[in-house]
Symmetry: C2
Subunit: 754 residues, 2 copies
């Protein structure tokens, strides 16, 4: 091999050029950056600059043998690469120059290349056949700062909750026996009730803090302790208590809310029936008003009409029962009625039959059961009568005349529960990721022949791609759910129909994401991830059902899509629907623009990293799907296809729209929330997470964008490469990113995460 | 609306034209079919033919109001649609003609359209606003015939096994306690041992039947009983027994094989160490030969060097221990040595420490443990010495001089276990699908206003798309694994390296597929799928780890890809590798053809359903990925990037190649096996399953095919539509398809599947 003699000035640049060209890393805008830095380097002679410029030509890259000579110059140097140096590649370069041709002055320009090209140690520490002093985690960002950003105004209260949860009652242990586990979780719920945590969303008059947002954040935090605790807590305070709070009136609040909040009155939320899961409007349980003694009879008419999967069924002494309300022989639709289940000795009351649901895949600390009612009489006052009442004269009255609208208004009050479910699932994903990342920062497998240590599995590109985009998504979804909860709790927004559609879409997307992520983490931890002591198994089994309860994901996505089609303000399937479809399709067609080929093949980094590009892509997708969906339905209906059937025929299209909408919403919410971060250093980090989220999402649906001609093949490939590279760039900060989730230390009991 | 008066002859065709045009169902080849049928219809006048032809023009489809008038003619008829009629649409049409304008003779042509267009009742039963007498399942195919096709020559033996498994010992029940569960599974394994089932793969001289293929089929069947039973059975007879059979010599066989086969000698397969899961070559346990007393000392040197996840660890009295064999101070690489663990009173022997692995996500009936060896001496004869021996004079000898080759030869004998793992996972997927399908054929949710009954969830397109492609894939993978096992067991194929690569790829793909499928089934069954009594939870938790054990999927895919790169006959990373890469890339480049735009946008049904198209697509993908991968690696190496690093850089590319290869292999194997089915009726069914598999696979990776320009946007959309339509077309046969898996009735204990 020919030995080329470079000046010390040039040698300082060589490790950079080697990194650049070994990987063909340069985009056009990056060439510009490097060129500018060389230009302004006062230590270089014109001759030297000319040589360096000649190595910047993408059309005519340096010859392979030249690149190879750089590799040899580096590997023969005997210099150690110290990853913990502030600018490791720059300091390596300076040492290389020093031992070669002299002692150059400190050259700030080098560090600038390192920063501007986003070159991270793990981009090159394998490239150089030299000894590497590795750094597991960079201390550039502080986990606590990040977690404060996530917690926002609840930081203090969540900190206090964390301390409360360090009580031995909450210690994690393997609990395989149904009865033991349930008792333990019951004790935990009662403890939190006593401490005032359960009542947080209730009015201050009833021991609460009137703070639904904080309640939702607490719900998520409980996932770090245990899924069963989280769900039983949610059933007692959120579903049962929430139904009394939101569907009941002052008389119910005065009588029950305080005792519910401190968990002295345990209750159920009895909506789902064996025969009717997703189709709540079709439930069969009846609540018939008896004018002769001013009571309501609750009854289970048929074999499959019992309530099922009802949480707290074994411990609850009362239930909010959803039933068809029949007054004077007329069915007034689904209403909620409080029905006592057990006496004070905990015996079930006459007419009530409760059967244990038995062992489940997860959440075995929650006592689910089936409930039958055989002509059970309760006083008229037990009707939760905010939206529909039986008056003293025995007549039915509701301020909402349209029964459909009444039904959806009642159900709408439960949307908060769906946000909590999404937050809980996300909490599970965060915890699994934290465990998997910490394991990957300890676990070593395989190595290069020349190295003594095997590599950390976190340094494998496939492992980075497995975990890093999921971490970015957790950040995006976290911000989105915070914002949606803020709007849901905002009483100045009276029409919540849009938020309902949003929550329906987000709940589906996020619970599916969480399940996939936990599964990925299980596999990323290998056999260790299969052991109960490492917590991932329970997270996996507990979060699994989040895709089904509080609304089956497939059903919810269709609900969301129908909301979009009706522009969030019309009843679907009603007479005016075809008109709405026409309107929608006309509106959107106006705004649809043809995609310029130059745009669909733009692969420059600045463009690919620009949130405007991502937002445009997501908006384009939602619009196009809405338009084509509206057109298809209209077309079917025009041909005489019944509308029920028309909707069946476009079912997969509806699902795609629901997902697309959720993605657009999540990203735009995140971009807005990132803009408001004051500390620019952290803003930049969050922005990068957002970019990774967006590119990964586009990548996941690349076939659709390609089909539409929105992106070309070259751009699609470039996006894939950027996803991989961003995952690598974030590697030094990955531990801080999972620590930023703010999981209390005492909850991180997984052996492999210690 | 204008009332159009058609002749009875025309009216007979109207329901068909309504189905066709309401959904824009016609491809060019289908137009030809319908045209031909009309042409040859002797009952039609020239005038009538002309009218019908005019409705066949895709450029000028019938006007919307005409189609609507057809819809009204149908819905006002008052005729019932009887799905169980042989040709339901034809008989409906005849009745429609009869009540309108007269009594036409039986027109065989109509049925021909029904067959040729693949119109299934569920394509139209919602379209018509008439009363539908629904049919849950068509009896056109017989489940037993299908299951005999799957079982091939083992049908009789598997039938007998099924009867054996009906013994009460194998009754399924919830078993939450580790000790109880393990004892139960131990009894099951011993029962099967006594009955001669464990020894089936061993030579006849040792009580076996010399039938590895049958053994693998039995392994799959055991999954229908319980995952823990399957795995403990596999550890005892496959791994422990298999290691003695394949790594040992006659002295070991004579002494142990019979007792292993009848489960009197229980043993472990101690390979994996805490510190070394995937990197078997790097294990640290030592086996040092002591010439002074002709023994071998087994020793665990460091903290993380213990064996882990070892099945049978609590019940086993002996273990095949993998260790670095050191003879005269020289490390001869990994060898297997038989080490007694316990005395006949079941106490662990001196120097042996065994610790229970505790509760796991699944497979809790398997007693996994960690094992430490503290200077444990065993006689020299305990070395399983088929591939490497210590001779009487204390010197090491092996017929395989190259230590790498020796290592891979030893490991290669374990490939049979990987096939079993894939088969077992597939069995889990089949069972979950059978449960989910049976549930979906009973469960009703939502309905049209005019109907009394709600719809079966199996009739929802999204539900069909969820389950049907997965069922098709089970058929494809089943045939593939049967064939691979046949080749693996074929002693006339001496060089098994290609099969090893194939198995590595298939094991990954199939175990991942199985996990995704079981998850899909869990969600498809809603809350019911979450109850232990419905079996899906255990299938899910048991099959989960199949992605990790017997080779982590990510590692195996890379192994497979490296096999392809080295053309299955060279050592990777060795000196000759660059030469191989050069050769490969040159060879493939020769064969690469540019894709004709007419081809990439061909959307005709005949083309899309043609296996030649699918095989071409899969082959194209494997080749292209191989070529670009070889080019990338070559390029890195030329630039001086160390080869270890070069492989890291292309890691995700390697994974993609591994998957692509597996898909190509599975499909071509299935196509071949389908060709050999003699009964053409079933051959046609299997062919359709293959088409669904292939189009679904192309669809899943559509972004790649689009990026490459192999398919255009129009074709990509057409493929998506075909996947949906095929899933619907198979709906009438879906129950027969899952019954065809041959799961014994007594194993189908899920409450929701009864």
């Amino acid at each position: 091999m020919e030995r080329i003699n470079y000046t010390a000035n040039i040698i300082q640049y060589i490790p950079f050029f080697f990194v650049i060209w070994s990987d063909d890393l340069l985009s056009v805008s990056e060439v510009t950056v490097v060129r500018r830095i060389i230009e302004s380097d006062p230590t270089l002679s014109e001759e030297e600059k000319k040589l360096l410029y000649s190595w910047l030509n993408k059309e005519q890259p340096p010859k392979t043998k030249v690149i190879k000579s750089w590799a040899e110059l580096i590997s023969l140097s005997g210099i150690k690469l110290i990853e913990s140096d502030t600018y490791p590649l720059s300091s390596f370069s300076r040492k290389l120059a020093a031992i070669n041709n002299g002692n150059s002055p400190i050259n700030e320009n080098l560090a600038e290349i390192e920063i501007n090209l986003g070159i991270q140690p793990n981009h090159y520490h394998h490239l150089f056949e030299v000894e590497v002093v590795t750094e597991k985690t960079s201390d550039y960002y502080i986990a606590n700062e990040i977690s404060n950003l996530l917690r926002g105004e609840h930081a203090q209260q969540l900190e206090e909750l964390g301390e409360l949860l360090s009580h031995p009652l909450f210690n994690w242990e393997v609990n395989r026996d149904l009865d033991d586990f349930r008792i333990n979780v019951l004790n935990q719920v009662q403890f939190l009730g006593k401490k005032g945590i359960g009542a947080i969303a209730y009015p201050k008059a009833y021991g609460g803090r009137d703070n639904m947002e904080l309640y939702a954040s607490i719900f998520e935090q409980l996932m770090f302790v245990d899924g069963s605790l989280t769900i039983k807590f949610g059933v007692q305070f959120g579903l049962f208590g929430g139904s009394v709070q939101k569907l009941g009136t002052k008389k119910h609040h005065d009588r029950y809310l305080k005792d519910i909040g401190n968990a002295r009155l345990l209750g159920c939320f009895a909506m789902t029936e064996t025969g009717h899961g997703s189709n709540v409007r079709g439930i069969k349980t009846t609540a018939t008003y008896n004018p002769e003694n001013d009571t309501i009879t609750i009854h289970t008419p048929g074999k499959n009409d019992n309530k099922e999967y009802i949480g707290n069924a074994l411990h609850g002494t009362m239930a909010t029962v959803f039933a068809q309300l029949i007054v004077n022989g007329k069915n007034r639709g689904v209403h909620a009625i409080l029905v006592p289940l057990r006496d004070n000795k905990n015996n079930t009351l006459p007419g009530i039959t409760i059967v244990d649901s038995g062992y489940k895949l997860g959440l075995n600390g929650v006592d689910n059961g089936k409930i039958w009612f055989n002509q059970v009489e309760v006083p008229r006052e037990n009707l939760l009568n905010k939206y529909g009442d039986i008056q003293a004269d025995g007549s039915y009255h509701s301020d909402i005349k349209n029964p459909n609208k009444r039904f959806f208004t009642m159900l709408g009050t439960l949307v908060g529960g769906r946000i909590c479910v999404a937050k809980g699932a996300l909490g599970g994903a965060k915890m699994a990721l934290a465990i998997a990342v910490k394991y990957a920062l300890n676990r070593r497998q395989f190595n290069d022949n020349i190295k003594i240590q095997e590599d950390l599995i976190m340094d494998y590109p496939s492992h980075q791609l497995r975990l890093t985009p999921a971490i970015a998504k957790c950040y995006v979804y976290h911000a989105t759910l915070e914002e949606v909860m803020r709007q849901y709790s905002d009483d100045t927004i009276s029409d919540k129909r849009k938020i309902e559609s949003q929550v329906a879409a987000l709940k589906s997307t996020i619970t599916w994401f969480s399940n996939e992520t936990i599964q990925e983490c299980r596999e990323a931890c290998g056999g260790k991830g299969y052991l109960l002591e490492n917590r991932i198994p329970d997270l996996k089994n507990d979060v699994d059902i989040f895709t089904t309860f509080e609304g089956d994901n497939t059903v919810l996505l269709q609900l969301a899509a129908k909301g979009i089609l009706s522009d969030f303000n019309s009843e679907l399937n009603s007479g005016g629907f075809t008109a709405v479809l026409k309107l929608i399709s006309a509106q959107i067609k106006d705004k649809m623009v043809a995609i310029n080929p130059a745009y669909s093949n733009k692969v420059d980094k600045d463009h690919l990293y620009n949130p405007k590009f991502h937002q445009h892509a997501f908006k384009f997708r939602t619009r196009r799907l809405t338009y084509s969906l509206a057109m298809r339905i209209k077309d079917y209906i025009k041909k005489g296809v019944p509308s029920y059937q028309a909707f069946l025929k476009v079912q997969t299209h509806l699902l795609a729209l629901g997902k697309a909408y959720s993605c657009e919403l999540a990203y735009s919410t995140f971009v807005n929330s990132t803009d408001s971060i004051e500390d620019l250093k952290y803003q930049e980090l969050f922005r990068k997470l957002g970019i990774l989220f967006a590119l990964h999402e586009i990548r996941e649906d690349a076939s659709w964008f390609l089909e539409q001609g929105y992106i070309g093949g070259t751009k699609s490939k470039a996006i894939r490469q950027r996803v991989e590279r961003l995952s690598t760039e974030l590697r030094p900060h990955i531990e801080v990113l999972v620590d930023g989730f703010g999981i209390p230390d005492h909850c991180m009991t997984a052996t492999i995460a210690s």
